[in-house]
């Protein structure tokens, strides 16, 4: 037994090498996506240089970096929420609905609660109710999954659609601000919103998000609960074998995931938006999902990716308009990241196994005509 081995019980053999590999596998897809999206821009007659310069200008320079960091708060919490479920191989795709549920708790209850109790207490109540709302909303997919093995991708997605509808009904109904004609909630006064980090205009939701990510990282990698999640994710059969209650595990992970995502919605309203319009849906989860895969379900590793996307999204909105692109172009870049991530993974796996990069079937098909020809020649 050598000294390095002693530190490596949890399976981090050759840590530096694996870190380097993980880094390459994570960053390469992003770079490729940026290059190809530049080509797409050229093809549709926009200037990629203008666009990326715009992203830099509006996303980072001046005080714009503070807007980017504010956007990081909900994104990072959504990321942690997704990671909790994904580590257990539970594919919670109901994030949009869960986020909006948390948001509507804040925007609907906020104007009422802030009038009757101190801001600190009201904020706490809102956070708790938001987390509970998200957790309860996930019970149906979780119980169906645990009891009957129903595919949670479909059930959580459907529950998300229902949640979006319910949220809109609430905003147009009980939570509607009677002072305006547009369907939206009453605006929460500025001094009741989350405080800024001193000296900046970044609300403390950013700090909460970073702390959450670090705590989650510790729980996943160092505690018995984290190991239980990993066992459950690696193999439900093995989980049963070591005596884990898989029903409880599914419900707990789904509730944690969904609750965190709802929490992100509440923080976003109380830190950033101060009110909520009907039919508003920022779809953070759609953008965050590829990022948590890039981070290999490690909350701390997700921080730089979320930061990158926050800058892209903050600067990209204006930059896209200036470069003559639709704002939806941002999702093209996200989609390209996903695509290149898949390709990088595939090639990485092949390389690890010492196989050719070409799929076996493709190689055969490509080589077939040549082989026939050579056989004919030799005959």
């Amino acid at each position: 037994m050598t000294a390095p081995d002693l530190q490596n019980v949890t399976g981090t053999n050759g840590a530096a090498q694996r870190f380097a590999q993980g880094f390459i596998r994570s960053v390469v897809p992003v770079l490729l996506a940026l290059v190809v999206s530049g080509l797409v821009m050229l093809a549709i007659g926009a200037s990629p240089l203008d666009f990326f310069a715009g992203v830099w200008k509006y996303g980072i320079t001046g005080s714009n970096w503070q807007r980017s960091l504010s956007l990081m708060a909900p994104l990072l919490i959504v990321a942690v929420g997704l990671i909790v479920a994904f580590r257990g191989q539970l594919w919670n795709l109901g994030y949009n609905g869960q986020y909006l549920l948390g948001a509507v708790v804040a925007s609907g209850l906020g104007p009422i609660l802030f009038q009757v109790m101190p801001a600190f207490l009201a904020t706490l109540v809102i956070f708790i109710v938001a987390v509970l709302a998200g957790a309860v909303w996930s019970l149906i997919p979780a119980i169906l999954k645990a009891r009957y093995g129903t595919n949670e991708i479909i059930t959580s997605l459907v529950m998300s659609f229902i949640a979006v509808g319910v949220v809109n009904l609430l905003i147009k109904g009980v939570f509607k601000d009677l002072g305006t004609s547009t369907p939206q909630t009453a605006v929460i006064p500025d001094n009741d919103l989350l405080p800024y980090i001193p000296g900046t205009e970044i609300h403390i939701g950013f700090v909460i998000a970073i702390v959450l990510a670090v705590v989650a990282q510790f729980v996943f990698s160092r505690t018995s609960f984290g190991l239980r999640i990993d066992i459950f994710g690696a193999s439900p059969k093995a989980a049963r074998h070591v005596g884990l209650n898989s029903t409880w595990m599914v419900i707990l992970l789904f509730a944690l995931s969904s609750g965190l995502i709802a929490f992100a919605g509440a923080i976003d309203i109380l830190g950033q938006f101060s009110y909520q319009r009907a039919d508003w849906d920022p779809r953070y989860g759609d953008a965050v999902m590829p990022l948590v895969f890039l981070a290999r379900f490690r909350p701390v590793a997700a921080i730089p990716f979320v930061a990158f996307y926050a800058v892209l999204a903050t600067g990209g909105t204006l930059a896209a308009q200036q470069a003559g692109l639709n704002v939806d172009f941002l999702l093209v870049i996200v989609g390209l990241i996903l695509l290149f991530m898949t390709i990088t993974e595939y090639i990485g796996d092949r390389r690890r196994l010492g196989q050719s990069y070409l799929p076996a079937g493709l190689k055969r098909t490509v080589l077939q005509p040549f082989r026939r020809a050579s056989e004919r020649n030799s005959a």
Partner: protein, 539 residues
Amino acid sequence: MTTTATSDIISLRDITKAFPGVIANDRVSLDIVSGQVHCLLGENGAGKSTLISILAGMQQPDSGSIAIGGKTVDISSPKVAVDYGIGVVHQHSTLVPAFTVLENLMLGETGVLQNKKRAAEHLEELAELLGVQIDPHALTSDLGLGQQQQVEIAKAMWKGSRLLVLDEPTSMLTPQAIEHLGESIARVKDRGLAVVLITHKLREAYAMGDCVTILRGGRNVGHIGIDELSSYSEKQAQDAILAAMFGDDLTAASTDPAAVDLEEAAELAGANEATRETRSIDFATRPVRLELRGITSRAGGRDIEADNVTLTVHEGEILGIAGIDGHGQAALAEVVAGQRSAASGTVLFDGVDITRSGVRDRQQLGVRYVTDDRLHEGTIGSMSVALNLVIKRIGQKPFWRAGRIQPKAVDAEAVRLIDEYGIRTPSPATRAGTLSGGNIQKILLARELTNGARLVVVNKPTYGLDLKTVHLVREILIDFAAHGGSVLLLSTDLDELIELSHRIEVISRGGLVGGVVNDGAGTAEKVGHYMTGAIEGTD
């Protein structure tokens, strides 16, 4: 339609096939002659299956060639293999359970319309050829395993075979069904077909084969031709085959304690009838450690459940449970381990009712379970060997304190167990999934038998292992029982049960159908009688 060719020779030349990290076939050459049964012998991992999947068109060799009747052919897909008349009966059933026999046989038909009448006639011809009776309209799920195998053989010969390949055909059969199979093989051979019989049991090779080829480590290490084999006495043939199968392990027996001597090798290779190797115990003086009273299990899955099982295991006793695979063994094992709940009945452990306790409580009491699914259930391949060794003690001191893992304690325990059980791993931090099957099984045994084990349930403990590890695993179990541990041994390998068990119960469709005290000759026949009676319904 039946294109039975005579005096064809299928010759494989220098077949090489490599997978990442292992050369499965290394320049293997052999000739398969019509009208002969060619036995392919070798232990697990010797490359038998790879060679067969190359013949069946499921894998392509990296190099080497296959010629049929002197003409080089490229078997590029399973369909091409069928067109050349190569039919394969795989070790595990490939029949669709919800289809009838006839529908299963017609799966490969290419015509637009089904021609059931012609198919039924064809089946009749084949059934006559094989000397069996097959009801064309029975659901395959209703057939016994022996009958299912007959259907599989008919399916392999459906398109008119030149070569019939049987991959470990006897591993699931009762002694009686093996006899039937032998008769069918003889009839097929008489029709001029070539037969390749894969086995790891030496006595079957000798009884059924005309010539024998032995593979070891992916290489053809010995061939006994048809004349040679018929001129040998059984003992000579045995020694020749054993020498090829074990190679240096045999000669080095005196110096290397891990190596096996000739007698053990013969036993492992199934050369002779098995005999018990455990010391006798006097049941009357031994307290009952485990008692099941009318246990019926319940999981809600499609598994066969344990059905009203009553049994006792004494201190220091190995109780064998014989039965065809999939007859409720898993349910029985899990209900004892606490992974499956009992719908009715009582589980008593040292006289205490533990029916309602979960896995972790029972683990603490000393009830342990070595599962047969060692890759997906028993271990987590992506985690380190060290973690896999303590995974049943999550959250317990000294490995976890206040919920936090204590790497040094985990590592010390891992080093201890790796040393004690001779697990071959580069380090405790190596991912368990990268180890060989034998070493993974050692991880399971080390984990389950340590820290106060009193009863261990083992399900198919040597399935798919190399012969040296098989030997080691059996030694470990015998040793455990000799020191007062109790073993509930579920196995489909009758030889193994006879070698290890004090008593053998037979399980069928979830229930126990009879018990045999394992003392002296004739146990195999008695067990086989119970198995046949219960399964084929010929009481």
